[in-house]
Amino acid sequence: MSPLESLREALRLLRAQPLRSLLTLFGLVWGTAAVIFLLSWGLGVRTMLDTAFQRAGKNLLQTWPGKISEDFSPAVDRRWLWYTVEDVAALRERVRESDLVAGETRRFATAAFRGRALSLEVRGVEPAGEEIRGVPLASGRLISREDVVHARRVLVIGQRARERVLGADGRVGSWVRIDGTSFQVVGVLGRVGTQLSRDGAEIDDQLWVPLSTYAALWPNPWLPVEMLNSILVRARDRQRVDAAEVEMRRVLAERLGVVAEDEEAVPIFSPVKMLRRLPVEQQNGLNVLIALTTLLVGGIGILAMMLDSVQERRSEIGVRLALGARRRDVLLQFLWEGIAIVAVGGALGVALGAGGALLLASDAFRGRIPPALRDLVPVPELSGVVVLLAVLAMGVVALAAGLAPAWRAARIDPAETLRVE
């Protein structure tokens, strides 16, 4: 008997008792759907976190002024440390694993426009920093090298800050007063979205002015130099984040005259490192394990159904053997039957799981999520690999659930089943 005929035979038997077949298939359908959906979901979660953590800059390393820790210094020397533009220049020159370095300053200030006044975060930035942040423009231009050189009173405004400060009638060219000084809006940033890793306000709420303008208007009252609130360093790529950190720490420790191992003196933060500490892969692994367990339970259901079916059809098997079926024919018939059942259930499961993943990824569904939450709801990532994995797992279940009953069926003694009681 050819596989095709065994398969046709198996499908006939599935159709003969549709309700029982469907009930038995449910576990398998659900398990397959769960494997596909949870794998896609997990990939979506990873992307969502990756994006949300790196919205303020890809492959970013950031340092703030630190303080010498007790572990590395006698009790008398517990100085606060600070960074200046010279530190930025030194890093730019000596950190080979980095392609961009920038200094940044920030403070809260009152922004006023046509009678509206709001307290917002103002940042002193330079072009390299803007490039590291990688925010697209909605209109106008970014702060340029010339703006910094000439300490111009120009302003680039975040998307939400624009809505709140300028309202409907504000645009590029408008004048905004920041703590009493007038700045002309030269650019409006595009929407950045929810930042799971941020230093202060979200970029959407920030006002950017040239670093030099900032230093001139709001000098540090305690220090004779231009102090920076932070230094941004971009690693050349994700793989070089750790190497860039090592170099960065060595350069800064040397310049500050502290021990390189003193992480309190040179605190370096990186969203990539933070992401690594999140148990995303573990959670995904656990999800898939649970889904595979469901699939296994579905497989056990099919095993039970098949064993039952063999028991019920002993005389049928006897008749087939009497009519010239070889043991191999009987074995294959039941094996194919098991595979056919798993294939039907698996196809339904793939449709359900993939359908669910596609639904949650669809614009129609995304549109219903409140905008404030949208950035944090993962978009399931359905891929051929995901489906292939589910199909592979199903294949293993099919063989496991089909083989034992088929083996049992093939060993039935025809004489015994044909005896009339």
Partner: protein, 229 residues
């Protein structure tokens, strides 16, 4: 020419639970090709066990069996399956049609295991059904036809491979006498066409019809009578 069937000192023992049944105790028998034979005996005499051995469904515990000169104990499992499918036709008391299949599909089953293609299967199964006057029932399932029709379909299935040996185990046991006679007439027609036919029965009126009549008791041949009863 070799005999259709030759048994030499055949024994059969099997266990039912913890008791061992000695169903056949040294049976010697020869049946020529084209013979029409009945096997009679009370229940438990071993006549069904004999039929199982003749049909290659089970092997003797001791002794030997030659089917058309072939020593059955020397044939491997696949070879036995082929013998059952090609050389032997079975008719059972309980018909043993597969309930989920149509009569046509039931009749075509032995052809399926011989690897006959779909259209040839269809054609030959339909011809076999015509032989038992059931072609108009081809698309029905066994549950939709009468007992007599079921047994006729079972005979068509036994015929479809044109076996040289037809084994019938109480073929009329589940039928009334009118339908029983119809079945016997069919079996006798098959014999007339040249097949060796062996009918196992405990019904004396049926057992008396064939020209050669065997009686079995306690696993041994009690009588072997030839000629018109």
């Amino acid at each position: 020419m070799t005999a259709a069937i030759r048994l030499a000192d055949v024994h059969k023992r099997y266990a039912i639970g913890e008791t061992e049944v000695h169903a056949l105790r040294g049976l010697d028998l020869e049946i020529e090709r084209g013979e029409y034979v009945s096997v009679m005996g009370p229940s438990g005499s071993g006549k069904s066990t004999l039929l199982e051995i003749l049909g290659c469904l089970s092997q003797p515990s001791a002794g030997r069996y030659w089917l058309h000169g072939v020593a059955v104990d020397e044939v491997d499992a696949d070879g036995l399956a082929r013998l059952r499918g090609e050389a032997i036709g079975f008719v059972f008391q309980a018909f043993n049609l597969l309930p989920r299949m149509t009569l046509l599909e039931n009749v075509a089953l032995p052809l399926l295991y011989r690897g006959v293609n779909r259209s040839a299967r269809h054609e030959r199964a339909l011809a076999a059904l015509a032989r038992v006057s059931l072609e108009h029932r081809a698309a029905h399932r066994p549950g939709e036809v009468s007992g007599g029709e079921r047994q006729r379909a079972a005979i068509a299935r036994a015929l479809v491979n044109r076996p040289s040996l037809l084994l019938a185990d109480e073929p009329t046991g589940n039928l009334d006498s009118a339908h029983g006679l119809e079945i016997l007439t069919l079996l006798e027609g098959i014999h007339a066409d040249g097949a060796t036919v062996v009918i196992v029965t405990h019904d004396a009126s049926i057992g008396a019809r064939p020209p050669r009549r065997l009686a079995i008791r306690d696993g041994q041949l009690e009588a072997d009578v030839r000629g018109v009863a």
